[in-house]
């Protein structure tokens, strides 16, 4: 589903590469934790998958397409195959929960009847049934992240990218979010999650890819957060 072949990303000429010759293969339906300290290249990895950045060297394949040669007008099509969730939720404060989720479908031109049936289904799935009319500031952090996940998943993308989705949440709430991501994963969605949260990684026992200053130092199935524990 996602394949990196010797991918290097250098932001500024002469600077240390943010990613250094990383090769990685993520299969359809996999759940992968991307761990590493700040600045290790996790976010760059996700940005490359979203084609927000282009690789300086090497090849990135997402959903069967080589992103280096993908023309920019096809990028929106690519992004419709990818859901993305962030630490800071990125919700629209003046829209209700329903509108926030519907927004993702409206802007890619889905018909109204499709939106009216899909959005409530998705909201129910993430556990927000009955809160459609609330606005983001009326929700707890965990609920806000659920809205963000609903928005990322409402178009049923085959890939879900999460950039520290539990970074702003307390452990109990984080656990709830992880259960939700696990459920989404079990529908066949490939999930790549960048995280600092060792407890979660240790509990989930999924594949762990560790980055350190841009290089891949570990790729372990059913791994834990720290390799030395």
């Amino acid at each position: 589903m996602i394949r990196f072949e010797n991918v290097t990303k250098v932001y500024a000429r002469g600077a240390r590469p943010a990613l250094d010759r990383v090769s990685l293969d993520v299969e359809r339906g996999e759940f992968v934790f991307l761990v590493g300290s700040s600045g290790s290249g996790k976010s760059t990895f996700l940005r490359l998958v979203l084609r927000e950045e282009r690789a300086s060297a090497g090849k990135v394949f997402v959903a069967g397409k080589e992103l280096g040669t993908l023309s920019s007008w096809k990028v929106p099509q690519l992004r419709r195959q990818i859901g993305a969730v962030f630490q800071d939720f990125r919700l629209l404060p003046n829209k209700t929960v329903f509108e926030n989720v519907a927004f993702a479908l409206q802007v890619i031109g889905k018909p109204r009847h499709h939106i009216l049936t899909t959005v409530p289904d998705t909201l129910e799935m993430v556990g927000l049934a009955g809160k459609e009319k609330r606005r983001p500031h009326e929700l707890s952090g965990g609920e806000q992240q659920r809205v963000a996940i609903a928005r990322a998943f409402v178009n049923r993308p085959p890939i879900l990218l999460c950039d520290e989705p539990t970074g702003n949440l307390d452990p109990t709430t984080s656990l709830g979010i992880m259960r939700l991501l696990d459920r989404i994963n079990r529908t066949g969605t490939t999930v790549v999650m960048a995280t600092h949260d060792d407890e979660i990684v240790d509990q989930m026992r999924k594949r762990v890819v560790e980055l350190s200053t841009g290089s891949m130092v570990r790729d372990q199935s059913r791994g834990v957060y720290g390799s030395d524990r």
């Binding site: 979203l50 920019s72 007008w73 990028v75 929106p76 099509q77 690519l78 992004r79 419709r80 195959q81 990818i82 859901g83 993305a84 990125r90 629209l92 927004f103 993702a104 409206q106 802007v107 890619i108 031109g109 889905k110 018909p111 109204r112 939106i115 928005r151 990322a152 178009n155």
Partner: protein, 304 residues
């Protein structure tokens, strides 16, 4: 869904930047009014040329009894001199340039003089003897005045040769200068309009960065993201151009048709129909302006 969504986005954008929107409308209004004025001035010149160049003649004024010109030393023009002048005008090298010649006697000149200036007190003091008799020459091509003038100037019995076109040329020069002035002001205002539209779109794009960020993330097409901003600029500019058309229409209707037209009636004036001819170009220019400004701005601020 799409259309409704885009329309609501535009509405939000226009309302959020209301003061900027209004300033875009005003600046395009003023700049396009100048552009339109310049166009109308040129049309006015064209109309007057069409109308007057058909009527203008070269007048060969013949000596009256009391002229101080050297060629009139012999007193009033004689029949022989008249014939000589006519022969010169009939010569084969000048003939093709001349459409028609007629002779105006002193009495005819006096009659038309009286008609034209009947309200002036000094007109009553003139007599037919103060008038010149003259040859009135209609040229096939008014530009070829020089050829005819050379043949008769300096001949005995000719007091002066006058090209009526010259009288108009001074007026046209003034109108041309006015066109340049209006055009220059229009250019300055248009630059201001482009910059203002650019700034407005930029502000609008910045204030909705969150929305556009999410749009990009979920795979909205570039067109879909940019269209509301483009239309915002285009709508404001179009309103400005409509105001300009309205302003020009009112100006022509009340200042020219109703006021100048009734007080100085012998000039063919531009009409509101001419304003309507200019209107599509003004509106087109406004849309073009907005389109250029948005393309420049949006490629930078809402990049995929």
């Amino acid at each position: 869904m799409r259309l409704q969504f885009i329309l609501s986005e535009i509405g939000i954008g226009l309302r959020r930047n209301l003061s900027m929107t209004i300033s875009v409308i005003l600046v395009t209004f003023v700049s396009l009014t100048f552009v339109g004025s310049a166009a109308l001035l040129q049309m006015q010149i064209g109309k007057m040329k069409d109308d007057w160049y058909d009527k203008v003649e070269v007048s060969v004024f013949l000596c009256p009894s009391n002229s101080s010109e050297k060629t009139c030393a012999g007193g009033e023009v004689t029949e022989e001199q008249k014939q000589e002048i006519r022969d010169a005008l009939d010569a084969p090298e000048v003939k093709p340039y001349i459409q028609k010649i007629y002779f105006e006697t002193k009495e005819q000149a006096f009659a038309s003089f009286q008609r034209q200036f009947k309200d002036q007190f000094w007109a009553s003091a003139t007599t037919a003897d103060d008038m010149n008799s003259s040859f009135r020459i209609k040229l096939t091509d008014p530009e070829k005045y020089q050829v005819v003038s050379e043949v008769v100037t300096g001949k005995q019995g000719v007091e002066a040769v006058e090209d009526q076109r010259r009288l108009f040329d001074r007026l046209f020069l003034v109108l041309d200068r006015a066109t340049l002035l209006a055009g220059g002001l229009a250019a300055v205002m248009l630059v201001a309009a482009v910059l203002l539209i650019t700034t407005t779109i930029r502000l609008s794009a910045l204030s909705r960065r969150r929305e556009t960020g999410i749009m990009r993330l979920v795979g909205a097409s570039t067109m879909f993201i940019q269209l509301p901003f483009m239309l915002e600029g285009a709508i404001a500019a179009t309103i400005g151009s409509l105001l300009a058309v309205g302003g020009l229409w009112l100006g022509v209707e009340y200042l020219i048709t109703d006021w100048l037209g009734t007080s100085v009636g012998w000039i063919p004036y531009v009409t509101t129909a001419d304003v309507m001819t200019v209107a599509p170009f003004l509106i087109g220019a406004a849309i073009l302006l907005a389109a250029i400004s948005s393309l420049v701005t949006l490629s930078r601020y809402t990049k995929v």
